[in-house]
Structures are given as C-alpha cells and as structure tokens.
C-alpha cells in the first residue's frame, strides 16, 4: 500500500460554479480516512477525481510522491468499491474477482491461487461458481471488496459502500472492513454520509462542506472540538447560542440576554456556543450563571433515555436525560450548561 497526497484540487463543470476548491490533504500509508458530508458536498467528486474517473480542473494527485493526475484510470493501480457494488453480472464470483488479475496478464495458476486466497479471507469460497444476482447484498458487497483486494492496490477507494445494506448488516460489514484494513495494512479512502459509521472505523475524518474541507482530524478531536457550527451540527451538537463580540465579557465568559455563560474554549474570536443534548443537565435550582429556565414542549422515549424539546428565552434546546420517569409537556425546568461541555465556535 502507499500514501496519498492531494494538492489544491479544484473542479468546475462550467468554469463558473466550483464543485470543489482548494482540496489539499494527505492519507498516510495504512491509514483509513473517511470523507464525511451531506450529498452534494463534493465528497464523491473528490473520490472520483482521485480514482481517475473524472478529470480535475486543477490540482494534483500524488501516490507515493508520484504524480498520477494524468494517468488514465485503467493504468492506476487502485481498488474501488462502489455503492451499487458494480459486480459484472455476466461473470461468476470467481471470474469477477479474477478480472483485475486477468487484465494484468497474470498466468492462470497465479490467478487461481490469488483468487482462492482472497475468497478464503473474505469468506466467499463457497460462492465462487455463483453469479452476482444469486448473492445477497452483504455477499455482493464482500465480492466487491475481494475484487478490489486481490490486485493488491496501492489505494482502496470506497464510495458509500454500506449505504445499500440494512442497519444490522451495515454494523457487521463496517467491523469487517476495519478488521481487514488493519490486517492487510491498507490505505483506504472511504466516502460516507453516515457520521456514526465514519467515526467508528476511521483513523482520521475529513468533513466537507460545499466543495471545501471544513475539518480534517481524528474522530476524537472532531467529536470533542468541532471547528465550526456546520461540523458541530453534523456530529450531533443540536444546541446553539449565537452571540456577537459586544456580548463577550472576557476570554471565557459571554453574556447573552441576562444570563452569563462560561465556556472552556476561548470566546474572543468566537460567534456561537454549542453543547450536546446529553451534556445539558436538568437541575432543581437556578444558580444563575450557565442556567436557563424553560418549558418542555415535546417529549420522546429513546429507550436508554428521554429526549425533550425545551422552549426558553434563548430559543429551543434539545436535552437528553436518563431517568426512570418521563417528564411531562408543560413542565417548567432549569437547564444547566456545564462549562466543560460548552464549546465556543468561530464559524
């Protein structure tokens, strides 16, 4: 496997609207990096340019320091797993997996031993003679993976590989992908719109917004220190308090309305405070700072906890609380935002 470096990639179809701009990042050898974002953010475009399926408008793609930007797709040595799996319907599983080796001119015996080995690893040996249409979605997914792994690609690209599977299988497959990736020390670029999925399997996560990279970091750092409101929303920070510079008291204190908030982050260049629903505490006494009075306007049972929407003078907040009994709509409660969970964001 190899490392990948992308430099100042940009893409525009009509010369005016930029679908991608200034995309620069690198993926280290043996690392699994996810690109996360909603549809239309440019994540699939980025992947397709790296694969060579789409021409870039400007920028470079380097694999092990070698510029492959102008190399035609069929001469790059990448593997790719498609959302639709894109198995060859007229070939059986053995032939599907053998396809890339055949194109590389390997001998029949070499092909046979390599294909059999990879079918063994992916648990597909018994399906070798079956055709794609005879397999379940999860099995097809595995064939798609086997077909990519068998050519020992420098880079494995995965375009929403799990989104056509049902929820249970999705969990199982993502574990399997992670296991194989670590076992074979693969360099993987993984595109997804599912936040949980990507945090679960990635070494690093790249969050994209409107054709740009918004944040590129480890899942832990992103989770605890989202850089922008956009990232925060994407990863489940549902509560936001906007403020302007006039409301900043000092570097860690902000006064919005007549409540003053303390945050662990620096507030001087920030614009918004944010906190996760499960970090807000419902308290009996209003101690003034970091606390706000509100009325419950809806309640929902989540299994482990209850979720409430609460109306306050600073807008609506979402709160998750583990408790035996559900609170009722209309009940007045005090919400406390602990300073250690209250983050200040600059965008």
């Amino acid at each position: 496997m190899a490392n990948l470096e992308v430099k100042k990639l940009a893409k525009s179809y009509d010369g005016k609207n930029k679908v991608l701009q200034d995309i620069s990042f690198s993926v280290n050898n043996g690392e699994l990096v996810s690109i996360l974002g909603p549809s239309g953010c440019g994540k699939t475009t980025t992947l397709r340019i790296i694969a060579g399926l789409l021409d870039e408008t400007s920028g470079q793609v380097l694999v092990d320091q070698a510029d492959v930007t102008k190399t035609p797709v069929y001469k790059r040595n990448f593997g790719m797993v498609f959302q639709s799996y894109a198995l060859f319907p007229h070939l059986n599983i053995f032939e599907n997996v053998a396809f890339g080796l055949k194109m590389r001119g390997l001998s029949k015996t070499e092909i046979k031993s390599k294909v059999e080995e990879i079918l063994e690893i992916t648990g597909l040996s018994e399906f070798a003679q079956k055709y794609p249409a005879q397999l379940s979605g999860g099995q097809q997914q595995r064939v798609s993976l086997a077909r990519a792994l068998v050519i020992n690609p420098q880079l494995l690209l995965m375009d929403e590989p799990l989104s056509n599977l049902d929820a249970k299988l999705r969990l199982k497959m993502r574990e399997e992908i992670r296991r194989l990736q670590q076992k074979l020390k693969m360099t993987v670029l993984f595109v997804t719109h599912d936040q949980q999925e990507c945090f679960a399997i990635s070494d690093r996560v790249m969050i994209m917004k409107e054709g740009r990279i918004d944040q590129y970091d480890t899942p832990q750092n992103i989770f605890h220190h989202p850089r922008t409101e956009y990232v925060a929303r994407f990863i489940g920070y549902d509560n936001f308090i906007h403020f302007d510079q006039a409301q900043v008291i000092d570097n860690h204190h902000v006064k919005v309305g007549n409540i003053s908030f303390e945050s662990i982050d620096e507030c001087e260049k920030a614009k918004v405070l944010t906190i996760r629903p499960e970090n807000i505490e419902i308290v009996d006494q209003n101690k003034g700072d970091n606390t706000i009075l509100g009325t419950i306007i809806s309640n929902e049972y989540l299994g482990q906890s209850f979720k409430y929407r609460i109306k306050t003078e600073l807008g609506e907040f979402q709160v998750e609380e583990s408790r035996k009994k559900m609170r009722l709509v209309g009940e007045q409660i005090n919400l406390e935002f602990p300073a250690k969970h209250l983050h200040a964001l600059s965008e």
Binding site: Q83, F88, P89
Partner: protein, 262 residues
C-alpha cells in the same frame, strides 16, 4: 373491481381473442382444400398446394432474397445503431435527446413514402443498384428498433460496471466488448429479431425496389394473389405462420419473448 374473475370482461375478451385467432385458423384449413378455389367448408384433403409453392420460382427466389435482405439490414442496423446508442447514453453528448429523436425519425415517415423517395433518389438519381437500395430502405426500417431497444437496456445497465472495468485495468474499448456487450446481449437479440421480422414482412419499401431480377417474398405473394385465386396462397401463408412461430420459439428459448414487447 375489474379483474380476471369478472364474467362480462372474460366473455368479451374471449370473443375478441377468437376474432384474432379465427381468421388465421381458416387460412390453415383452406390450404388443404382439394378444390382449386379458396372456399369453406373444404371438400377433401390434399398437400398439392404446398407442392405448388415450390413450382413458383418467384416464391423461391423471393424467400431467398427476403432472407438475405432481412439479415443484412438487421446486421447493419445493429452495427450502426449500437455505437450511436453507446455514445448517446454514456459519453455526455450535448443534445443527446435531439439525436435520439433524429435516429427514430424514419418511423415518422410513412413506409410507402420512404420506398418512393428512396427509389427516386437512390436508384434513379444516385444510380445505386436496386439491391443496395433495398438494403438501405430496410436498414432505415430497422434502425429505430435498435435505437429504442438498446437505449432502454443501456439506461438500465449500471454505469459503475464500466467504471469498475477501467479501475481494474481494462481500457475503455476493451471494456465495451468485455463488459458492456455481454450485458446487453438480450436486447441485442431482441432488436435483431424485431428488425429481422419487420424487414422480412415489409411490403411498401420492397415494392418500389423490385427489379426484373429481384423479387422479395411478400410482394411476390401479393402479386400471385392478384393474378390467381387458389389455395397456394393459403399454403404459403401457413408456411409463413410456421416461420413466425419458429422465430417466436427461438426468441422465447434465447431470451424470453417478453423482451420483444418492451
């Protein structure tokens, strides 16, 4: 609800079905009549009229040339049509739907007009031999079937299959032959069959491209019918029906007959 169990609907449908089938059954019955005019009920049973078919040089030559023209025209339509469809469905051609309509436009021109206009231009003005003119006319008849059926199956075929081919080291040209063609095989056969049958059965175009040395089967039968009124026509009609049945059987075996009516 109106469904297959509704009695009125069933009776009406069976009557319509009988109207569709009965005339053809009558043709079969009259072909065995011993009388020399076509009438019912038949008076005796004979195969003479079948034997008579083979006494008609026009029928034999007509069958041969109709077969040849149908094969060549269908083959050419596939050869010209498939690449065009591939370009229109895969290569981001600007105004692709305009081209699509353009390729389907021969269906908007009455066949009799195509025959007439081609005869004037191709045979009279360009001095192209009648046989070539015939192929051209039947090619125009066939091309829309190829365009329509192959486009439908190209649109159903996952684009990513080709991309997967390229990713794994297959050049675009090779990908077309290794991965695209095998997966649209069914619609190619269906298109070929529709072309073949329609070309073989065509009259209006063939009518104009008749030379002294060139007769097509349907015009030959038409001609015979206008000059004689004996059960030979019934007999050759039966042979043509068997031919149709055989084609349908082959299609059913190869790809399932449903592919023809898509």
């Amino acid at each position: 609800m109106l469904d297959r169990k509704n009695k009125v609907l069933t009776i009406v449908s069976l009557i319509v079905l009988a109207i569709l089938m009965l005339p053809l059954v009558l043709v079969v019955v009259t072909s065995f009549n011993t009388q020399s005019s076509i009438s019912l009920p038949i008076e005796g049973f004979t195969f003479n009229w079948y034997a008579n078919i083979f006494q008609q040089p026009d029928f034999i030559a007509g069958f041969e040339s109709s077969l040849l023209v149908a094969l060549l025209a269908s083959g050419l339509a596939l050869l010209f049509g498939i690449p065009a469809v591939y370009a229109l469905t895969r290569l981001d051609v600007p105004k692709a739907s305009w081209f699509q309509s353009f390729f389907l436009s021969p269906t908007l021109i009455p066949e009799i007009v195509i025959g007439f206009a081609l005869y004037q231009t191709v045979v009279i003005t360009m001095r192209i031999p009648v046989f070539a003119g015939l192929i051209i006319g039947h090619f125009l008849l066939c091309l829309p079937y190829v365009i329509r059926l192959i486009t439908a199956s190209m649109l159903l075929l996952d684009r990513h299959i080709e991309e997967a081919g390229w990713i794994y080291g297959c050049s675009p040209k090779k990908t077309f032959f290794l991965l695209v063609l095998p997966n649209i095989k069914t619609s190619i056969i269906a298109a070929f069959m529709m072309c073949f049958i329609n070309s073989f059965n065509n009259i209006p175009i063939s009518l104009f491209m008749n030379g002294p040395s060139l007769t097509m089967l349907p015009p030959a039968i038409l001609n015979y019918l206008q000059n004689n009124y004996d059960p030979t026509v019934s007999a050759i009609s039966v042979l043509l029906m068997i031919f149709t049945g055989l084609m349908m059987f082959l299609v059913e075996k190869a790809i399932g007959i449903k592919s023809l009516t898509k």
